[in-house]
Symmetry: C2
Subunit: 134 residues, 2 copies
């Protein structure tokens, strides 16, 4: 799913076996109690994925935030509500973990994704800035 | 510094002793190897603060990212390069930790902050979305 994406296909690798860097990242995510990788399945097929990171901050009187990243929905089920279900699941999980904000950034090249998140209730109050390192 | 801020003064508390929630957040940050709180000092005075979170992701072939948050500069030294120094320090630290991206969000109510980050080299390629929880 990461490679089957307008932006992802230029920056992901989909070969067998997968590059070891994916395995190492998976191990780092699953061994960190502040990171959760959520997979949506239909039968034996993976149809959606997202990552949630829980972070303590001093701001907002010392509040925790949940950051959603890497949301991908299988093209076979797009438009069927899987994405909404995943994000709502993440919001519920953030409440369980005592977070006061759920946040994410979405590429300005994905206007449909922005509308999707706004429908769920997110507000585009911030600019999302990136600096690529060499 | 958190309370001495146009947006912060409505959502922070500055009293003695500070609410325990700040202390608990501080302990959570400092005990997590993927979170670092950076303080800039001039003599005995704290003049700047920022938090860096290092997060492993499956995207970008399993790359780590550094997220900067809670950047605050003391009003006594604003415009003197302390902020630039802090952010450049964070970029260097992200390189040491093997990150491929440094990212942050900045409130659209802070146009000067956006220009500041763009001068350093950040690109506002993303929308930053927030959902406040009850």
């Amino acid at each position: 799913m990461l490679a089957d994406d307008v932006l992802g296909r230029t920056r992901e690798r989909y070969e067998h076996p997968l590059p070891n860097s994916y395995k190492k990242a998976f191990e780092a995510i699953t061994s960190d109690p502040n990171n959760e990788l959520i997979v949506a399945c239909h039968g034996n097929e993976v149809i959606g994925v997202q990552q949630i990171t829980f972070t303590p901050y001093l701001t907002h009187t010392g509040g925790w935030r949940a950051t959603i990243e890497g949301v991908r929905i299988s093209s076979t089920v797009r438009g069927m509500g899987v994405g909404t279900g995943l994000i709502k699941w993440a919001i519920q999980r953030a409440k369980e973990r005592g977070c006061h904000i759920v946040q994410l950034t979405t590429d300005k090249q994905r206007p449909d994704a922005l509308k999707f998140y706004e429908r769920i209730g997110f507000k585009a109050t911030h600019e999302g800035l990136k600096l690529k390192l060499e």
